[in-house]
Every structure is written in structure tokens, then in C-alpha cells.
């Protein structure tokens, strides 16, 4: 039931993209996303798309999975397209009925925006598909560490993210168990209108929250009894090191970014 939910869509692999340093991977993504918003022509998108396809191919990802990732944003894309087509005015008028009209500018900006969103999602999904959640949080910690000077608790934040990710499957399992226990007492989670359904969730949510708090307490104690004192001075098992291929990837993305944004 609840176990079908997959969180973190990481697909393990050993491609060059998988092996990139997570920090470098994130910087690459940021550079290319900025350039994606600077693109002014469709040719820019075409080059960008070619690069995305190239990355997917060398990272050995199943193309189907990447495309599946686009499903949840289908409505967002549809709404963007429709709004732009009907609301943006200018250029040749293709069709008109009373005050509603479809004009050249509308179709152009509509398609433009949709291409941008599609590429954005496809490209960022490569990051989550090729980087394990742990690497991701490690990378985020490093990238946030300059902000420590301004009082941002970077290592605590990343510890929180790691713990949260770690406990998602545990909580799902727990939810499944409680749900079954309540169903054995005749609880109904599947029928009724929205308000009834929300109310029917109380027998699930109250025990779930209580157990989450209890787990949090236990975990805090367990961490403290093993001398966890916060991020200060902590070392790690897998040190991140920037290697040759990381530099090469940075150069490539920068070149692509410059080409597409100024073309």
C-alpha cells in the first residue's frame, strides 16, 4: 500500500556522471540552470536539449525513467501553455471569437516557456537520479559552509536532511502497520468525501506522530551517548575530493552555458 511510494529516485550506477563529485555536480547544475533562463532563442534550447540527451546517454540512465519524471508536471505545463496562448497578445491574429483571441506572440512565448520548464525538470532530475541522497546532503553541506560565517548551521542542516531521508522508509513501514491495525478495528481509509477522509486519518496520524517523537527522542539519546556534539570538527569517512574529470565537467558546462546564453 504505502510501501509503493518511492522517495529519492536514485538509480545506482558507475558512469562518469555518477562518479562526479556531488559538489561539482551541483555547481554544474546551477551554472546551466542560470544559462537556461538567459536563453533567448529556440536554437539555444536545441543545443541545451542535445546536451541533456548527451548527459543522459553517458550516465546510462533508462530514458523511460527520466521521461516518467515529467509526468507530475504535466498539468503545470498544460496550464502554462494555455495561459500564454490566450493571454499574451501581439503579432498576427490567428483566431478570434468575441474578446478571446489566439495571437502569434502567445503561441511563441507559450512554447518558449514550456521548453524551458521541460528542460529544467529533465536536467535537474539527472542530478537526483545519479546522486545518492547521502552524497547530495554532503554536497549541500559543503556548498553551504561559507554561510557558516553568517550563523547558518550548515552541518546541522545536512545532518537533519540525512536523518530525515533515513527515516522515511521507517515511517512508511510504521504507517502501514498502524493503518492495518486500525483497519482490523473496522477503520475505513478509502471511502467518503474529503472531509470524512481527513477525519478518518486521525487514527493513523496521532499514533504516527507519537511514534515519530518517540523515535526522535531515542535517536537524540543514542547520538548523544556516542558523543555527538554538533558539526564542529567532525570528520568524515568518505572525503570528497575534486578530481580531473570534475574540472573537465565544469569546463564543459561553462562552455555550453556561455554558448546558449549569448547565442
Amino acid at each position: 500500500m504505502l510501501k509503493d511510494i518511492t522517495i529519492g529516485q536514485y538509480i545506482p550506477g558507475n558512469s562518469i556522471v555518477h562518479r562526479l563529485d556531488p559538489r561539482v555536480k551541483m555547481i554544474n547544475i546551477i551554472i546551466l540552470i542560470i544559462s537556461l533562463f538567459l536563453i533567448g532563442r529556440f536554437t539555444g534550447f536545441a543545443i541545451f536539449l542535445a546536451f541533456v540527451i548527451f548527459t543522459i546517454l553517458i550516465s546510462d540512465l533508462p530514458v523511460k525513467r527520466v521521461l516518467n519524471g515529467l509526468k507530475p508536471i504535466f498539468f503545470l505545463i498544460l496550464i502554462t501553455l494555455v495561459l500564454h496562448i490566450f493571454l499574451t497578445k501581439g503579432g498576427t491574429v490567428f483566431w478570434q471569437w468575441r474578446f478571446i483571441s489566439i495571437e502569434e506572440e502567445g503561441i511563441y512565448t507559450g512554447l518558449f516557456m514550456v521548453s524551458r520548464i521541460l528542460l529544467l525538470i529533465m536536467f535537474t532530475s539527472i542530478l537526483t537520479l545519479t546522486t545518492s541522497p547521502l552524497q547530495l546532503t554532503d554536497g549541500i553541506e559543503y556548498l553551504l559552509s561559507p554561510l557558516k560565517r553568517f550563523g547558518v548551521p550548515a552541518s546541522e542542516l545536512s545532518m537533519m536532511m540525512t536523518i530525515a531521508l533515513r527515516f522515511i522508509p521507517t515511517l512508511l513501514e510504521e504507517a502501514d502497520k498502524i493503518m492495518k491495525a486500525q483497519m482490523a478495528r473496522g477503520a475505513d481509509f478509502e471511502s467518503g468525501n474529503i472531509i470524512q477522509r481527513a477525519r478518518n486519518l486521525i487514527p493513523l496520524l496521532v499514533p504516527l506522530f507519537i511514534s515519530a517523537f518517540r523515535r526522535a527522542d531515542d535517536l537524540a539519546l543514542a547520538m548523544e551517548s556516542r558523543c555527538y556534539q554538533g558539526g564542529e570538527g567532525r570528520t568524515r569517512l568518505h572525503e570528497l575530493k575534486v578530481q580531473k574529470h570534475d574540472i573537465v565537467s565544469l569546463v564543459i558546462s561553462s562552455v555550453i552555458a556561455i554558448i546558449v546564453s549569448f547565442y
Partner: protein, 284 residues
């Protein structure tokens, strides 16, 4: 209450073919007290969830009182009323503000009127040995662990099931709590004629209470018989990695050391000591 399982197969993850149950055939008639044993991952919990309609078998039929619960569109709530299921650590499912409300959750889901609900709450709290007037308005979260478990079990008893299934109900209880629980199960079965299926790793409990023992191993039903039959098969039990009741184990060992005529189908200390004494007298 009549339960019949025909050729039950269950696989959890269809891709990886994790076989949880393999070709289980079983019929439970009238009033039995069944001890269900097997080591972790042998399929005990899967089996009891199937009986309650919480999961559907991959293949096979389960018939409860003439109703095939594996068929499409079965009113599962009626099945769940007949078969009460007490999960492991049932106190983790408590959620209401007062003990009364929590125990009343099940009966209310059966659309009973408030008079009947109140009657059932009183009865089931009395059954588990809690004083209705004292405890009904307290928050279940302020009770001791043992009391919480009693309230949770009362919540299932309030559905008035004909069959009660308990998944390791004594785990984590202190010796006194365990004894009280055993008394409760004893009463439910021998006084109220409830069919009980008890999952437990404590063979002493099983030996004291059960009239029939089922042993699961890797999803297969490997032994099915009276406690005498099952526990006298010491070799098989050892192969399966399961314990015997300690006292029975001692008798088996005495037999190995030369007491050839000593009985080994004994589970209580008093009976065992009597047997040892008679055996010693026989020797003199």
C-alpha cells in the same frame, strides 16, 4: 466459526518473488487454541493478516464461515468483526483522548448504537482486568505500558470477535503482566469459547495454553498437531531453530543420559517433577 485455507500462496514483491507463504492448507474448526510458531520471517504475520483480509493471497482461497474472503467485493468489515487481530505492540495504535473513546472506536465502526457501544466498552475493559469507572476518562497515553496494552486488547475485544489472533502479545511485558495476559487468554478460550490463534516465541506459553500447534518454516506449514506431538519431535524442532519448553528439554536430556523410560510429553514443572520422582522410584 469455521476457517479453511486452500492452497494459499503469497509473494510480497512480485518482481523479486519473495515467497512469504507456500501452499498452505489448513482448517480450523470450532473452538481451538492454536499456537503459531516459527522463527522470524517464517510467514506467521503474513498468515494472520491474510485471515483478517488485510492482505490478499497471491493464489488460493480462504473461506471463513462459508464466505470466500479472497473473492472480489467481499464486505471485509464483517470479516474483521468476526476475526479480531491484535498486532505486535498494540499500544502503538492508541490515539483517542480517553480510554473509553479508544475502546469504543471499533464498535462505533460497526455502526452500533451508543447504548450497545457503552455496554461493550464496559465488558471488554472488565475482561482485561481494568476498572471501568477508574480508567474510562483517563488519557491512554498516561497509563503504564502494561495498562496501555490491556486497553489496546480491550479495543479489539469490544468488536466481539469469534476468533482472536494475537501477534506476540507478551513481548516487552514484565513477568506479572505476562501472567495476567496468559490468564486472560485462558479465560477467553475456556470460558467464553473463543478460538484463539497465538503467535509467540515463548514455548512455555504455547505449551500451557494451546490445544494445537502449527509450525511454519520459510512459508511452509511443517508441523501441525497437538503440543504433545509437536514438542516430542525434538530433532525436527532443533532443525528448525526453535526451542522446546525448558522443562520438556530437560526431560529429553534425561532420556539421552539413560533414563530411557521417562516421558517427554510434559510441559509443566509440577508434572515433570512427579514424572522424575516416579522414574527414580522405578529404578530403585
Amino acid at each position: 466459526m469455521f476457517i479453511e485455507l486452500k492452497n494459499i500462496f503469497h509473494e510480497y514483491n512480485q518482481d523479486q518473488l519473495v515467497k512469504a507463504l507456500v501452499d498452505i492448507n489448513l482448517s480450523i474448526t470450532g473452538s481451538e487454541f492454536i499456537g503459531l510458531v516459527g522463527h522470524t520471517g517464517s510467514g506467521k504475520s503474513t498468515l494472520v493478516q491474510l485471515l483478517n483480509g488485510l492482505i490478499k493471497p497471491t493464489r488460493g482461497q480462504i473461506i471463513i464461515d462459508g464466505i470466500d474472503i479472497t473473492a472480489e467485493k467481499v464486505n471485509l468489515n464483517r470479516i474483521r468483526q468476526k476475526i479480531g487481530l491484535v498486532f505486535q505492540y498494540p499500544e502503538h495504535q492508541l490515539f483517542e483522548e480517553t480510554v473509553y473513546e479508544d475502546v469504543a472506536f471499533g464498535p462505533r465502526n460497526l455502526d452500533l448504537n451508543e447504548v450497545e457501544v457503552k455496554k461493550r466498552v464496559e465488558e471488554s475493559l472488565a475482561l482485561v482486568g481494568l476498572e471501568y469507572e477508574k480508567i474510562k476518562d483517563r488519557s491512554p497515553f498516561n497509563l503504564s505500558g502494561g495498562q496501555q496494552r490491556k486497553v489496546a486488547i480491550a479495543g479489539v475485544l469490544a468488536m466481539k470477535p469469534g476468533v482472536l489472533i494475537l501477534d506476540e502479545p507478551s513481548a516487552g511485558l514484565d513477568p506479572r503482566g505476562r501472567d495476567q495476559l496468559i490468564d486472560l487468554l485462558y479465560n477467553l478460550h475456556f470460558e467464553y469459547e473463543m478460538t484463539i490463534i497465538l503467535i509467540s516465541h515463548r514455548m512455555e506459553e504455547i505449551a500451557r495454553l494451546a490445544t494445537r500447534v502449527l509450525v511454519l518454516d520459510h512459508g511452509k506449514l511443517v508441523l501441525d498437531g497437538s503440543p504433545q506431538e509437536v514438542f516430542s519431535n525434538r530433532k525436527k524442532m532443533q532443525e528448525l531453530g526453535l526451542d522446546l519448553p525448558q522443562i520438556t528439554d530437560i526431560l529429553h536430556r534425561l532420556r539421552e543420559r539413560g533414563f530411557d523410560n521417562i516421558r517427554t510429553d510434559i510441559f509443566t514443572i509440577s508434572e515433570a517433577s512427579r514424572e522424575i520422582v516416579t522414574e527414580l522410584r522405578r529404578r530403585d
